[in-house]
């Protein structure tokens, strides 16, 4: 399958043709609007990422040492970020997710806003994904189904 680095480069190229902030946010929001809906049964309190700024639900699955996840938010910007993370990481081997060194958000210049807000859940989403990826690898103790739901 395509590597995370390849996908990342193609996303960076997509954003690079956009000239200003407004167009970049426009595209990010479009990605958010096109995000596939989260299974309603996963939108439970246990899957809610706590923060002041926006409501975010986040659920990670580990299957055959591959990571997949679903998420939803009342914020279209957060949904756009989720869409980017899904394109990058969904279905990738757990080892690759654990080792992923994403530069895309710095490159896009959007990250400057987003990561400075400690409670926006984006940084939390990435660390949840990495933590789940470590647990997902062979030899690691298997998490219970509740833990795999990455709430916290």
């Amino acid at each position: 399958m395509t590597t995370i680095t390849d996908i990342e480069q193609s996303l960076i190229d997509d954003f690079a043709v956009l000239e200003n902030w407004e167009e970049r946010y426009d595209y990010l929001i479009e990605l958010g609007q096109n995000l596939s809906p989260m299974d309603p049964e996963l939108k439970i309190d246990d899957n809610k990422v706590h923060g002041c700024q926006s409501s975010v639900w986040f659920a990670i699955r580990c299957e055959d040492e591959k990571i997949s996840f679903q998420a939803d938010s009342d914020s279209l910007i957060i949904k756009g970020i989720v869409a980017i993370l899904q394109k990058l990481l969904n279905g990738q081997p757990a080892k690759a997710v654990e080792n992923a060194d994403l530069t895309i958000f710095n490159t896009l210049g959007l990250w400057k806003h987003l990561s400075s807000q400690r409670s926006n859940g984006v940084t939390a989403m990435l660390s949840h994904l990495k933590a789940a990826a470590i647990l997902c690898q062979a030899g690691a103790p298997k998490p219970s189904s509740a833990d795999a739901g990455a709430g916290a």
Binding site: W21, E22, Y25, D26, I29, C52, Q53, S54, S55, S73, D74, S75, L76, I77, I78, H113, L114, S119, N120
Partner: protein, 407 residues
């Protein structure tokens, strides 16, 4: 003679900043206000010319720093119309001032089965310290609710007051809805039942009358940084009879009289409540901010700010799908709103890309958000240097947000 409010803008160098290629439009003043040049200079001047530890030193710099620090205390006392400068305790801010009372007054006067009353309109800093005090003491925590206009229900307040009520805590202005609370009436009602009142003046001191004797409050707390002064310094005013009767909050240097291995006696007011080396430049900067604020006539300032608030409310009301929260008889400088189907977070981020600074989220008032059944709001808040152009930039920014979000 007082200055025209319209001339204030030039006093704040930060307002010339460019943010995301747009001139800064600063509408997050309820979070913190910007500082005028005179305050910046006073802070710089302290460190450059007379930085020293105070009260104990016997050299020239220590004497000068001590004098400036204590003059600032006298200035705060005059600003609040306090009876005596010794009733002015310097703290880190409103939160610490309220915690001081919750711990110290709570220790002395609250027993199991007693009751404490606060309101649903409070910032967490005037809610959680009382909630925790009640947990520590097995006391009852009572909350006055607000109505559909965002105003406190005083009938419920009267029904909550009883012979076990030990203190009432209320804000002068709600940081979330902007409601100006009838603190004088609340104090009258509480005093008639023999109950003291703490007023959280964090959002009131910079906009409204702040005469503690006229208000007749027992405690008044505020932060310097929301009234054009430096961050990290705040004030607790207390009536002398309470401050004398309360035990110290923090202990250590400055606050003691004599110390032996078997006993400790405490210093006099206000030093009993000021353990450790004080933040000397803080009060000095605050004093200059008070001088600055007092170059404007309070009545003229209020007329100007109210006019701008009304203009903002009217302009916002024309935006399709907008909900403005609360409709109190008197509102001060705060406009909380949401756009239908749009998260407040997205509005904040997209306004920021246009140089417009607002606050989004719960504003440390979860009880208010729960009552309104919303996750948060966008909050635009005004200060004396804002003008119609700032409001117009907000409106223009919101229209662009709606366009980007295709609403």
């Amino acid at each position: 003679m007082s200055r025209s409010v319209l001339s204030a803008r030039a006093d704040f160098p930060i307002l010339n900043e460019t943010v995301n290629d747009h001139p800064l439009v600063y509408l997050d003043n309820a979070a913190t206000t910007q500082k005028p040049e005179v305050v910046l200079q006073a802070m710089d001047d302290y460190y450059r010319h007379y930085n020293a530890n105070i009260h104990r030193g016997n050299h020239a710099l220590a004497a000068r720093a001590t004098q400036a620090h204590e003059e600032a205390r006298a200035k705060v006392a005059r600003f609040l119309n306090a009876e005596d400068p010794k009733q002015i305790i310097f703290t880190r801010g409103t939160t610490e001032s309220i915690n001081l009372v919750a711990y110290s007054f709570g220790d002395a006067f609250i027993q199991a089965g007693d009751e404490v009353i606060t309101t649903q309109l409070e910032h967490h800093s005037n809610y959680v310290p009382w909630e925790l005090l009640c947990q520590r003491k097995q006391a009852k925590f009572q909350v006055i609710p607000f109505d559909e206009n965002g105003e406190l229900n005083l009938e419920v307040f009267k029904s909550l007051l009883n012979e076990r009520t030990r203190i009432v805590a209320v804000n002068q202005v709600s940081n979330s809805l902007g409601t100006v609370n009838p603190v004088e009436e609340i104090i009258r009602i509480a005093h008639a039942a023999g109950v003291p009142v703490l007023v959280d003046g964090a959002q009131g001191v910079q906009h409204l009358e702040r005469d503690v004797q006229k208000m007749d409050c027992d405690f008044y707390a505020f932060s310097s940084h929301k009234m054009y002064g430096p961050m990290g310094i705040g004030v607790l005013y207390g009536k002398e009879k309470w401050l004398e009767a309360m035990p110290p909050f923090l202990s250590g240097g400055e606050m003691i009289d004599t110390v032996t291995s078997s006993s400790v006696t405490f210093n006099v007011l206000p030093f009993k409540f000021e353990a450790g080396t004080p933040y000397v430049p803080g009060p000095i900067g605050l004093g200059v901010a008070i001088d600055y604020l007092e170059t404007f006539d309070l009545h003229e300032l209020q007329t100007y700010e109210d006019g701008l608030l009304q203009y903002g409310l009217e302009q916002l009301a024309d935006i399709p799908g907008i909900v403005i929260y609360g409709n109190p008889k008197q509102r001060s400088c705060i406009i909380p709103f949401n756009l239908e189907g749009v998260s407040a977070y997205d509005v904040g981020i997209l306004l920021d890309t246009q140089g417009v600074a607002v606050r989004t989220g719960q504003h440390c008032t979860q009880p208010i958000m729960d009552a309104l059944k919303i996750p948060g709001t966008v909050r635009a808040s005004l200060a004396l240097y804002n003008n119609k152009e700032d409001v117009d930039a907000l409106i223009k920014g919101i229209h662009r947000v709606l366009k980007i979000l295709k609403r």
